[in-house]
């Protein structure tokens, strides 16, 4: 499979690089290579969490520093053995990362800039603690007496080989994660964390795992480095250098690509050496600042950013071809899957209305009105403003329920509460007999509830294929490869297979809405909630959407949909429920409900004369 080639390449690279100490190079070159590899490890480790997830941390220095000082203290002052203490340093850093994450990730607002500032603050605090306790105490720690196991012909070689092993490990981890379910989750979080959570990604757990890997790697690197430099001071270790360079190298090389950070590290370290040798260290620093600015302004995705995009596109194409998907450009909405009895309505402006035909599945649920979702006395308030008030509504298995109501009546909020985006302020929600009121959004998704968004929220940096596969994988709790056939099936059903390797930016509104469909379908939900999926579509697009919805119903999925295109509602719904001001106004047969006086008033409004 195509996965193995890069991994093989990495291992080969490792073997080649491992032979260097025996080539008779001077210690200077070994040290230089060491520095490159060491920065690569730091940057790769930072990237696994921060680059992939978008949670840019300015505190990598903290984790690195914990590793350094564990070894410095345990080996330098307490004279424990070197390698076990390196491992301990890594473990402690990892734990520190998890503790930090466990506290910080619970607070929803702390993302982006705030997270960056917080991590910076944590670094300074740890620095102060180290400086003021016997761990360092001020003068620094000397480590020349630490016994280092002899690997390779001489001392610099030992360090080189140690860091090489770590480097290859980090590179492998970076690559493996980016292809794994964990990586997919991180990328989803990067693009739209809330949507990811609703689609079934356990965001909290994912971030903690990635942060652990990231900080542990940094800690191990620190442990090795402590003895390499043989003298550490708190100021140096916790200075702004590590966070700054790590961010810079990652961005320069490309945070999205698994090898980007290493490339960035190589370039910057080499540049730095050039400047230091020429006694222009300060000038070099200035140049680095300029480089950072230029990269942000002109190439925010880094050197390998475009390469990463292409690789991902090609992967999608290859998978699609291996499944026999026809990638010829096909116009999505002439390729409806469901062959309907009535002629396609390309020229009528309203979809054909479905007559009350008992064979259209009506008697399916008439005979078996089992309740799938039940909302009891559901209340939702935002800072005192009551959006849903004591709403009592049930959805029967196998039906299509239309949820109607004027603008601002609470329909979208209802869907948001069911999907777990909001926790209701009062009331009970039960699904399939299970009380889902207090469950997290991703757990609700895994129970079999899927939704589309009124304004499509695809993961912007993932292909159509990855978008769909990710949801299938997390909602069904299966691996990425097991989810692939489901993703392809869903995309073919909505007619997007020709666009399988495109990114959402390249799709038009209709295609994006159908991508939302595909994602929801791939999850094979028991209940599918569609939030104004028809708005903005042309009449023929509306018709193909209706056909699709009927097809989904025929497969056994229950559907709740919020809509304003009345003709479509009449054509599709088995029952409708009208809410106004967060309360249920009427429910039942569509034609009857829409003739209800209260409903008419709610929609068309009272006339002035009646006042």
């Amino acid at each position: 499979m195509h996965l193995n080639r890069p991994i093989l390449n990495i291992l080969i690279l490792g073997v080649i690089l491992a032979t260097i100490p025996w080539l008779g190079l001077s210690a200077f070159w070994l040290s230089f290579l060491y520095i490159i590899l060491y920065w690569s490890v730091l940057t790769l480790s930072w990237n696994v969490f921060s680059g992939y997830s978008g949670y840019f941390s300015f505190g990598h220095g903290a984790f690195f520093g914990i590793g350094i000082y564990t070894v410095a203290y345990m080996c330098g002052q307490l004279e424990h053995d070197f390698l076990p203490m390196v491992a301990l340093g890594g473990a402690l850093s990892g734990v520190a990362g998890v503790v930090l994450g466990a506290i910080v990730f619970r607070v929803k607002r702390v993302r982006g800039e705030l997270f960056a500032l917080l991590t910076l603050a944590v670094t300074f605090i740890i620095s102060t603690i180290v400086l003021n306790t016997p761990i360092d105490g001020g003068p620094g720690v000397y480590l020349n007496s630490v016994q280092v196991p002899k690997i390779g012909p001489n001392s610099p070689a030992t360090f080189y080989l140690l860091i090489l092993i770590l480097f290859i490990t980090a590179l492998l981890i970076s690559k493996l994660v980016s292809n794994s379910k964990l990586g997919a989750a991180l990328f989803a979080i990067h693009d739209d964390e809330d949507a990811a959570e609703v689609m079934g990604v356990p965001t909290f757990k994912t971030k903690l795992i990635a942060l652990f890997i990231s900080s542990a790697l940094a800690g191990i690197a620190g442990g090795i480095h402590a003895v390499f430099v043989s003298y550490v001071t708190a100021n140096e270790v916790f200075s702004i250098n590590v966070p700054l360079f790590v961010v810079l190298m990652s961005i320069l090389g490309g945070a999205r690509h698994w090898a980007g950070p290493a490339l960035g590290a190589l370039v910057i370290t080499s540049l730095q050496y050039v400047f230091t040798i020429g006694d222009n260290a300060l000038f070099g620093k200035m140049v680095l600042g300029v480089i950072l600015i230029l990269v942000i302004l002109f190439k925010p995705s880094g050197f390998l950013g475009n390469r990463a995009k292409k690789e991902v596109k090609n992967d999608a194409k290859k998978i699609a071809e291996s499944y026999g998907v026809n990638l010829e450009s096909v116009h999505p909405h002439t390729e409806t899957y469901f062959h309907v009895d009535h002629k396609s309505s390309n020229h009528s402006s309203h979809p054909k209305e479905r007559t009350h035909n008992p064979e259209h599945g009506h008697h399916h649920w008439h005979a078996n009105p089992e309740i799938l979702l039940q909302a009891q006395d559901l209340c939702m308030a935002f800072s005192g403003l009551k959006v849903l008030q004591n709403l009592n509504l049930e959805i029967y298995r196998g039906e299509i329920l239309g949820l109607l109501g004027p603008n601002g009546s609470g329909k979208s909020t209802f869907i948001n509460v069911i999907s777990g985006h909001y926790k209701p302020t009062a009331g009970v929600l039960s699904f399939n007999g299970i009380n889902i009121t207090d469950l997290k959004a991703h757990e609700i998704a895994q129970h079999g509830i899927a939704r589309t968004y009124q304004i499509p929220r695809p993961f912007a940096n993932l292909t159509v294929f990855e978008n769909t596969r990710l949801v299938a994988s997390f909602a069904r709790n299966i691996s990425l490869s097991a989810a692939t056939p489901f993703a392809i099936e869903a995309l073919e059903k909505v007619g997007l297979q020709a666009k399988i390797d495109s990114i959402p930016q390249d799709l038009n509104l209709h295609q994006r809405k159908f991508l939302e469909f595909a994602r929801a379908l791939a999850a094979k939900p028991k209940l599918l909630m569609l939030d104004e999926v028809l708005s903005g579509l042309t009449p023929s697009e509306i018709q193909s959407a209706i056909d699709l919805i009927l097809d989904i119903k025929a497969q056994g999925t229950t559907i709740l949909f919020v809509e304003h295109v009345m003709s479509a509602v009449m054509a599709l719904a088995d029952r409708v429920a009208v809410i106004n001001y967060g309360q249920l106004l009427a429910k039942g047969d569509p034609q009857e409900v829409m003739r209800n006086e209260d409903v008419i008033t709610a929609y068309l409004g009272k006339k002035l004369e009646h006042a």
Binding site: F56, R109, V110, E113, L117, A121, T128, M286, G289, L297
Partner: protein, 268 residues
């Protein structure tokens, strides 16, 4: 006393953050650049440091407005602007080190050692002066924000730039001027710093935590908030220094910062 200075630095940063939505890490760099420039002007030309107050702020105003306009043109994300200002900070830091070296520099003036008597207590002149300036600036900002139409326009832009535009407020131009003004504030703070402290490039980063804590505690976009917060922090730092140990002092502000970020993120 020192708290006032923290507050002054925080004022510019907080205004920029609260009203423009930009976390300007370069703010600190500007403060120090201005400090060094003021030192240079006084030392080279042997003139009264007060002249810097007239010469430098307009320069910094233009600098700040220019940077703001450039960032705007490129339409980068809020987070990337953080990184970008970080880049600017690094450049200025390196520049300062290059020109003035890492040696300690002290602005010697007739004011360095003089004292002012207020209510029978002697205060160091420079610190008092800085404090007074902080209060004056805060007061001016407060007055403009509350009483003038322009101040209201600024607040409107911060809350809903589209609606502000709908009512005739030239949001782009005003935002640019605001950015310039914040940088000018940084400049004034820097001049005060040069009067009080011995300058050293590494100090730049140590102030970051304190000032951020001040800004968050005092409230973004507020005028007097940072001053009061600054005083609060200044006092608690002094207490820490006296009762525990001087080097533990930075922990106070950083811990406060973390606490704020975790427990009151809505205040931001």
């Amino acid at each position: 006393m020192l708290g006032g200075l923290y507050g002054l630095i925080g004022l510019g940063l907080g205004l920029s953050w609260g009203l423009l939505g930009q976390i300007n890490l370069a703010h600190f760099a500007f403060v120090f650049l201005s400090a060094y420039l003021s030192f240079q002007i006084s030392t080279t030309f042997g003139i009264n440091p007060w002249w810097s107050l007239i010469l430098l702020p307009p320069l910094f105003f233009v600098l700040g407005a220019g940077i703001h306009a450039t960032i705007r043109r490129f339409k980068i994300t809020a987070f990337n602007s953080l990184l970008l200002t970080f880049g600017i900070t690094v450049i200025i830091d390196a520049l300062i080190q290059w020109i003035w070296t890492a040696d300690f520099r002290k602005l010697e003036s007739s004011y360095s050692n003089s004292k002012v008597e207020i209510f029978g207590i002697y205060f160091p002149y420079a610190e008092s002066f800085s404090f007074a300036i902080s209060v004056i600036c805060a007061g001016a900002v407060y007055w403009v924000m509350k009483k003038t139409d322009m101040g209201k326009a600024v607040r409107a832009i911060a809350q809903d730039p589209e609606m502000a535009t709908a009512y005739g407020i030239n949001q782009k131009f005003i935002s640019m001027c605001l950015a310039g003004f914040c940088t000018a504030l940084a400049c004034v703070a820097g001049i005060c710093v040069s009067l009080i402290f011995t300058l050293n490039p590494s100090q730049l980063y140590t102030w970051i935590g304190v000032v951020f804590a001040v800004v968050m505690l005092g409230g973004l976009g507020s005028a007097f908030g940072p001053i009061l917060a600054g005083m609060l922090i200044g006092i608690s730092e002094s207490i820490t220094m006296v009762f525990i140990a001087p080097s533990w002092a930075p922990i106070v502000s950083f811990t406060l910062l973390i606490g704020l970020l975790l427990f009151r993120p809505d205040k931001i």
